[in-house]
């Protein structure tokens, strides 16, 4: 029942928001996301008290073909829902003090997005899952298209068609699975209990893999991403990078590995190599990016490449690390894009080269930006470190050389992040008469919350690890 409540609060909010106008919209949106966060916390407590037993709800929707309204929350889903609901209030709050046209529609779409995301994370029937997966694309398309910056029409179209093409491949995959499943059902439990899937595992693996690889994105399916992140409004970028991309990595764990185990085993080496190459490749590109948002986009490709590589290592440490890192990356990347937004808001520029001297003008902002930068270069005692060390160890367990190669991210991450920070924040300002007020109240709240989360999960990651361990162990069996 709790999972259904968590699912429908955002939908309700989304519909209600259409009735509001002007400044009330954002307050209503914030209120609902906070309520949702509270509900999530309550659900987490209940979940913990029940000894990490999944919340399971199953209703028959269509008898033939067998489609069940099957929602379930195990530790993994719980973590992803927590991530979603934790970030949404911050994303909404980050839009305060910013000019947004037609805010009621904007926030309504955002909450619709939340509805779809939660749906993706808790659906345990392939059909329902697919519906939510596609549903998530619609609001973000409109957010990017209507509220985006220059060049948005072409970029958003590319993004939309690219990801849609990926989804179609997944649909083909589901058709394979459907015909192969003994009682013609796409229920997750049935699919996982039939590990041979009576189908060509190679095909199904690649169909699903490419679908997810586009969403994540894994190199070479990433070219839509930097441009889209660049031209989407910052809140949209946060949604895309913070949560939506996790749909892909989550789906690798939920809908690929347990469902086509033989195919995964067979192509594991290829997939993991692709991911690791992506890590280094994207990191190197990020070094010389001149656009702040694109730089973060490439850094994000590098980070999620590492996450995916950890997942494909098929080890407990890799999987666990990937989940910790998904949470960490979600928090950090939202922080990074928010910092970019703050800079843009004051200077009307995303150009790395043309800025500078901001630390002098805004020391508080500089401090929190530094904290987020450090977390994303995985300094110990920040959340990035825990995940990264587990991921790298997972990859190391798969292959020593790959582990070492992926480890280059530690060096390259420092190179591009510190280079960016130096050019943007330090030194003397290169802009004439730059007026850079320090943080506004909403920015302070967002950045401090992110900072606190960075340290709490970095110093005491045990709750996260405890939360996901039983579910991961079950998957790896």
């Amino acid at each position: 029942m709790l999972s259904l409540i968590l699912l429908f609060i955002p939908l309700l909010a989304s519909l209600l928001l259409l009735l509001t106008r002007g400044n009330t919209s954002r307050i209503v949106a914030l209120a609902f996301t906070v309520v949702q966060l509270g509900a999530t916390y309550y659900a987490y407590q209940v979940f913990k008290e029940q000894g990490f037993q999944p919340f399971d709800i199953q209703m028959v929707w269509v008898v033939k073909p067998a489609i069940n309204l099957h929602f379930s929350m195990d530790g993994i889903s719980m973590l992803m829902v927590i991530l979603t609901n934790l970030l949404l209030p911050l994303i909404v709050l980050s839009g305060f003090n910013r000019e947004i046209k037609r805010p009621h529609i904007f926030y309504s779409l955002m909450l619709l997005m939340q509805f779809a995301l939660v749906g993706v994370f808790i659906s345990f029937d392939g059909f329902i899952y697919y519906i939510f997966w596609e549903l998530a694309l619609i609001p973000i398309y409109f957010i990017s298209f209507v509220w985006g910056s220059e060049n948005r029409a072409q970029v958003t179209l590319k993004f939309f068609i690219y990801t849609l093409a990926g989804s179609l491949l997944m649909l083909f995959g589901f058709v394979f699975l459907y015909t192969g499943s003994p009682n013609h059902s796409l229920d997750w439990n049935i699919l996982t209990s039939n590990p041979t899937c009576n189908c060509n595992q190679t095909w199904v693996f690649w169909l699903f893999f490419i679908a997810f690889a586009i969403k994540i994105p894994i190199i070479p399916f990433h070219t839509w991403q930097p441009d889209t992140y660049r031209s989407a409004p910052t809140q949209g970028t946060m949604l895309l990078s913070g949560i939506m991309l996790k749909m892909g990595t989550y789906s690798l764990i939920r809908w690929l590995i347990p469902i086509v185990p033989a195919g995964t085993k067979e192509w594991q080496a290829v997939a993991i190599t692709l991911c690791v190459i992506g890590v280094v490749y994207a990191s190197i590109i990020a070094i010389k990016q001149s656009d702040l948002k694109k730089l973060f986009a490439y850094s994000s490709i590098a980070h999620v490449g590492l996450i995916s590589a950890g997942i494909f290592s098929l080890t407990l440490s890799g999987m666990q690390g990937s989940l910790v890192q998904m949470l960490a990356h979600g928090i950090n990347v939202v922080g990074l894009f928010f910092c970019a937004d703050i800079i843009f808001n004051r200077t009307q520029s995303y150009q790395v080269e043309g800025l500078g001297g901001i630390r002098l003008a805004a020391p508080k902002f500089a401090t929190w930006f530094m904290v987020i930068v450090l977390a994303s270069v995985a300094l110990p005692l920040t959340n990035g470190f825990v995940g990264e060390i587990m991921l790298l160890y997972g990859i190391y367990q798969f292959n020593i050389w790959l582990g070492a190669f992926a480890g280059l991210t530690i060096i390259l991450g420092a190179v591009y992040m510190l280079r960016m920070y130096q050019k943007v924040m330090l030194g003397e300002s290169l802009m004439d008469g730059m007026n850079f007020p320090d943080l506004l109240w909403n920015e302070k709240v967002v950045l401090i919350s992110i900072g606190i989360m960075i340290f709490v999960t970095g110093i005491y990651p045990k709750p996260i690890l405890d939360l996901t361990e039983p579910a991961i162990k079950l998957l790896l069996k």
Binding site: I287, M390, Y393, G403, A414, L426, P461, L465
Partner: protein, 648 residues
């Protein structure tokens, strides 16, 4: 049982040791603005509190015992449990005393040094954070906790080198330090993965036990130790990862004293001492460490001859001295290495703080060519600096003499050639240090009149630490009197429980007979004195001055430009990386990969454009096509009924 209770009683002060600086960091972060100059005193008080806790433990820890406990569970998955634990044994106590003791003096000194800086409280909060991480590094009971401190001190070093962030050259230096450290850290990290994989844990006790089940010199142990040593190279500025340390002098001078002389850069040596059993089991790595150490020692000493920035000279001497310590570790005499760490912390901190006092007096100028004759103006600095210089040159009875002599004697027993190189680099050290000293303090003042007018002795907060450190530099050596003096070596006996394992693996140390030892001491002292006389001759009697940069030629120019190592690294690593970044972005990403993506879109568009030509708008044609198609279908149905199956 009593013992156990006694140990548990020590847990609280042990936890408090790192907590005090952390508390200081948090307090100054939150209330820095209201505290103003008070933040300096608060920060110093916190370090003093840590120092007192350390002393308390030092006094109360029963001999031969160690305190090893888990504070909380940190990362745990499957059967791997990486707990956050602390370990206090003689080795960490020695380091703790140095870090908190010298750290406190440097904090005190900084109150005077930084008094007019606008980032006063920011400086102290970062210093406190540094001490916190350094303490974690030293106190951790596992490689992972050590790694927290390891990376943390790297961060603080980054922040403090780039303390004056308005100047981009400083920021570059800071970034360089961090990245070079990170290169080493990657080695450390992969080394940890190996240990985790093969030994199943990262805490020192279980790693050492597990390591002993492997054969001495096995590939696994050599790999692990080499990887760890890469980490040590980065942190302790050894060839080839040393170039960041001279640049790191961009930071405020107390930072150079604390981080880049006394504490952080010795972390590599501490780490190898901590893993002495592991290294003892990998003789190949020890040889490698020895070669790197000796090479660095000589190389840095040569570069030091031609530096004209007061802090750069000290920086290269630090690199050289660190090389000496690594040479000691390579020889397998871990306690001698540690001994030199301690004495070096005293006299190098002293020298840096003295240099800071000089810079303070000179209103920020650092070029020794523009100094001279300062002994008249800043008496205390002058005397303490002389003590430091004598100590580093290895003159009896100053601290450096004993620790350096111990290493030299061991190297003589091991291999004459190594002894020769190390002695030579010690001679060079004595030479360039006295060159520095003479040019700074003796003969005539060569600066501007304005500077001359401004020359003044530093305030008491600065001179008191100088005096205390000078005292330590004088007496510090007596902790480790050589056997030839007939008394016990207090220092190495105190550390002996830590190094028991490695000693039993490597067999007993070479013991020279006392006559040889006396001779060696004599030679070392004589060599140092000769160097000093040569330096005196050049820079005082002949009033020689280093020529301006433009006039330097030949080999000297190579030396003065640090053998162009920076330029070499730039060419081999930095520029290719930048070019690669461009190539990947413009060529691979935009051109090749996007070409495929856009080609897919183009194919769809092309197909559409082509097929739409069929839509002529001519109804007759449509109907014709329809009838033909129906006939084809009918034909298929009639002639080949199985065609239907294919379509399905």
């Amino acid at each position: 049982m009593d013992n156990f209770i006694e140990l548990t009683k020590l847990m609280t002060p042990a936890i408090l040791i790192p907590l005090f600086p952390l508390l200081g960091f948090l307090l100054i972060t939150l209330f820095g603005k209201t505290l103003k100059k008070g933040s300096g005193w608060l920060a110093s008080a916190m370090i003093l509190a840590s120092f007192i806790c350390t002393v308390y433990i030092f006094v109360n820890l029963p001999e031969g015992q160690s305190l090893n406990f888990t504070v909380f569970e940190w990362i745990k998955w499957g059967d791997i449990n990486l707990a956050f634990g602390l370990l206090i044994d003689p080795l960490s106590l020695v380091m703790l005393l140095v870090v908190t003791g010298v750290g406190f003096l440097i904090h005190l000194y900084s109150i005077g040094y930084m008094h007019s800086d606008e980032g006063f409280s920011r400086f102290f909060l970062q210093m406190n954070l540094f001490i916190f991480f350094m303490l974690l590094l030293v106190m951790g009971n596992s490689y992972l906790v050590m790694f927290i401190g390891w990376e943390g001190v790297g961060l603080c070093s980054y922040l403090l080198i780039g303390f004056w962030f308005k100047k981009d050259a400083f920021n570059d230096a800071a970034k360089k330090a961090f990245i070079m450290n990170r290169i080493g850290d990657l080695g450390f990290l992969i080394g940890m993965f190996f240990m985790l994989f093969y030994f199943g844990g990262l805490d020192f006790t279980s790693v050492m036990i597990a390591a002993q089940t492997h054969e001495k010199g096995s590939a696994l142990l050599v790999t692990i130790t080499l990887l760890l040593f890469i980490g040590a190279m980065g942190k302790s500025a050894q060839i080839p990862l040393y170039t960041w340390l001279p640049d790191a002098m961009a930071g405020p001078t107390p930072v150079s004293a604390l981080i880049h002389a006394a504490t952080m850069v010795t972390a590599g040596i501490y780490m190898i001492c901590r893993s002495n059993i592991l290294f003892a089991l990998a003789p190949f790595t020890l040889d490698f460490v020895l070669i790197i150490g000796v090479a660095t020692s000589l190389f840095a000493a040569i570069i030091g001859l031609k530096q004209n920035d007061i802090k750069k000279v000290l920086a290269y001497s630090t690199v050289s001295q660190l090389g000496l310590m690594f040479a000691a570790l390579g020889l397998g005499v871990f306690s001698s290495g540690m001994f030199h760490v301690v004495t070096h912390a005293f006299f190098k901190a002293l020298l840096f703080l003295g240099a800071g006092s000089v810079i303070h007096a000179m209103s920020g100028a650092q070029d020794i060519r523009n100094m001279g004759g300062l002994s008249k103006y800043i008496k205390i600095t002058y005397i303490t600096f002389l003590i430091g210089t004598l100590a580093i040159s290895g003159i009896f009875p100053f601290a450096g003499f004993f620790s350096k002599d111990e290493i030299l004697a061991q190297s003589f027993a091991n291999h004459k050639l190594i002894w020769g190189i190390l002695s030579f680099s010690s001679m060079l050290t004595a030479f360039y240090m006295f060159r520095l000293y003479f040019l700074t303090f003796n003969t005539q003042f060569r600066g501007t009149d304005e500077q001359k007018h401004h020359l003044h002795e530093s305030p008491a907060t600065m001179t008191i630490p100088l005096i205390l450190l000078a005292a330590l530099s004088v007496v510090g050596g007596f902790m480790g009197l050589p056997a030839a003096f007939g008394s016990a070596h207090v220092f190495s006996r105190y550390l002996s429980p830590v190094f028991e394992g490695s000693v039993s693996i490597m067999g007993a140390e070479h013991h020279l007979n006392h006559a040889t030892e006396w001779v060696l001491m004599g030679i070392a002292t004589l060599a140092a004195i000769v160097s000093i006389i040569v330096a005196y001759n050049i820079y005082i009697s002949k009033k020689g001055l280093p020529e301006p940069d433009a006039e330097v030629k030949g080999f000297a120019k190579w030396v003065g430009n640090k053998f162009y190592v920076d330029e070499l690294f730039d060419m081999i690593f930095v520029r290719p990386l930048m070019v690669m970044s461009d190539i990947f972005f413009v060529l691979v990403d935009k051109l090749i990969i996007d070409l495929f993506v856009n080609a897919a879109a183009w194919v769809v568009g092309f197909t559409g454009r082509t097929i739409r030509l069929v839509q002529t708008g001519n109804t007759g044609f449509y109907i014709f096509a329809m009838v033909i198609s129906i006939m084809v279908l009918l034909y298929c149905q009639l002639v080949d009924p199985y065609l239907y199956v294919y379509f399905k």
